[in-house]
């Protein structure tokens, strides 16, 4: 059975290394400050005992006042998982650091989020729409789209 790690415990480990980078944490997940996502991602992948080498998925949720980007990470070696989140409060030009350098599996998924939510991932090698055509007006999965 995959053990889902407590967000609180992992948060304290992250805080030791990058203090002030965790916004809040609960048993199920933890929220990272949006500008620290890449550092934390690398830390989670490379720290012994955590070894999150597998990115299950990344997606976004429109919460009206902010976008929540959700990452589900797993370690195939330890068979544990962790959900981390990051928030974007800017609706006009939301942006987050890309994690493609850490997990290549994020490549198409970050493009999908950009396409459907309009969140730009900085550092992504090919940040353009994936399903809809260039010049399409708006980002359909936003709650204010129709």
């Amino acid at each position: 059975m995959t053990v889902s790690l407590s967000g609180k415990e992992v948060a304290s480990k992250i805080e030791e290394k990058f203090s002030g980078s965790v916004v809040e944490s609960s048993a199920e997940n933890l929220v990272i400050k949006s500008d620290r996502v890449l550092d934390v991602a690398r830390f989670l992948k490379e720290t012994d005992g955590l070894d999150f080498d597998y990115l299950n998925f990344v997606t976004a949720v429109d919460r009206y006042d902010h976008f929540e980007v959700v990452y589900l990470l797993s370690s195939l070696e330890h068979n544990h998982s962790l959900m981390i989140k990051a928030r974007c409060y800017d609706r006009e030009n939301p942006a987050l650091p890309s994690v493609v350098d850490v997990w290549q599996g994020a490549d198409f998924q970050e493009r999908e989020i950009y396409d459907l939510f309009g969140i730009k991932f900085e550092g992504h090698p090919n940040m353009k729409r994936i399903f809809l055509w260039d010049g399409f007006d708006g980002h359909p999965l936003r709650k204010d789209y129709i």
Binding site: M1, T2, D53, Y54, L55, N56, F57, T59, V61, D62, V70, L72, L76, N79, M83, W103, Q104, G105, A106, D107, F108, Q109, E112, L116, N126, I130, F131, L132, W133, P140, L141
Partner: protein, 367 residues
């Protein structure tokens, strides 16, 4: 004297028999060698994730049929598992067993298409494919008995399945179970040592285990690269912890291994079905679930081992009758991440079979 060539851009698709649907690859070639490719998606984008936000939880099941339309039952099941997790619904015992039987039959049917289509790409034009379809037909007949449909089954329900197995189902299933191992031996005889298949697929398009993990590959693609990771064992859902079966893996991660992997997995699915038939209890097949499910505020992610890999549904509820957000983790799309690294340096003809060996359904990529 070395001949200098200009890079040449070749568009493969969107309508091309080898792209398994409406899907385009922009390949940059140097002579006949692939330098770079860029997959172009979106020709089948229907906005299913957006549509779910306007439907009731029960009303979304038919939409999931249209994701990976050659394994609709698995999609139904993955979605129902997510809603059950979110709303805390317990499924009756008999329904769990029926779900396992159906899901494993679906795996065999989908893998038969994967293998058949791959052999098509290798140049064994339609002869093995029709053999595979002969067996798939039997499975589709079984599905027709339970659901009345032959492609988009819409059979699973939140809390169980839509109806009990009809009388004629079990005899037909037993007949299939008797014949299938014999058919599989037949494929092995015909194909496993086939010189042309080996020459075309062995050592071609190698994906290392490390690379597969980094690219979030899942399913047969991941296991063919030697990574022993199957959600049925690693994170058992439904009642998979009650069955005795193995997770086959391969070593090299080339196209031939991915083909072998799928054949091996079919045999394991047969083992699971056999055990499920023997243990099948009687009882109700659907829990009492209200017509309008209204889960508490929260979120849930449920996943299963679909024929193509990890298929998951991430649901967010705001305590209304429709999900606030429903994200589908599509194995087909994510498995394609590794394609670019796999094809670089190979010839155009190899590009076709490397792509074929990943096994995608465009309905799931575009959603």
């Amino acid at each position: 004297m070395a001949v200098r060539t200009e890079p040449f851009v070749l568009n493969m698709g969107p309508v091309h028999p080898s792209t398994h649907g409406v899907f385009r690859m922009r390949a940059t070639l140097d002579g006949e060698v692939v330098v770079d490719i860029e997959p172009v998606f979106g020709y089948l984008h229907r906005g299913i994730e957006k549509l779910t936000e306007q439907r009731t939880y029960n009303g979304i099941v038919p939409l999931t049929d249209r994701l990976d339309y050659i394994s609709s039952m698995s999609n139904n099941l993955a979605y129902c598992l997510a809603v059950e997790k979110l709303a805390g619904i317990k499924v009756p015992e008999r329904a769990e067993y029926i779900r396992v039987i159906i899901a494993e039959l679906q795996r065999i049917a989908a893998l038969l298409i994967a293998v058949g289509a791959f052999l098509n790409d290798c140049g064994a034009y339609f002869t093995p494919f029709l053999y595979m379809f002969r067996e798939r037909e039997k499975i589709v007949d079984l599905f027709e008995m339970v659901s009345g449909q032959r492609l988009t089954y819409n059979y699973m329900r939140v809390g169980g399945v839509s109806q009990d197995l009809p009388e004629e189902f079990m005899p037909a299933l037993r007949k299939f179970m008797d014949k299938m191992p014999h058919y599989m031996d037949e494929y092995d005889q015909l194909l496993m040592q086939n010189e042309i298949l080996i020459a075309r697929a062995k050592g071609v398009g190698i994906l290392s285990g490390e690379q597969a993990i980094n690219c979030s590959a899942s399913g047969p693609v991941l296991r063919a690269s030697g990574v022993n990771w199957d959600i049925r064992k690693a994170d058992p859902y439904s009642i998979y912890d009650r069955f005795d079966f193995d997770i086959p893996t391969q070593t090299t991660g080339d196209c031939y291994d991915r083909y072998r992997q799928r054949v091996d997995e079919m045999r394991q699915s047969l083992r699971i079905i056999q055990q499920a038939i023997e243990q099948l209890p009687s009882g109700p097949v659907r829990a009492e679930v209200p017509h309008l499910v209204r889960p508490l505020v929260g979120e849930a992610y449920a996943r299963l081992e679909a024929p193509k890999g990890e298929l998951g549904f991430y649901l967010v509820s705001d305590n209304s009758i429709a999900p606030y957000r429903c994200h589908i983790r599509p194995p087909s799309l994510i498995n394609l991440t590794a394609l670019r690294d796999m094809v670089r340096g190979w010839k155009v003809a190899d590009l076709i079979i490397i792509f074929g060996s990943i096994d995608i359904t465009v309905g799931e990529i575009d959603r």
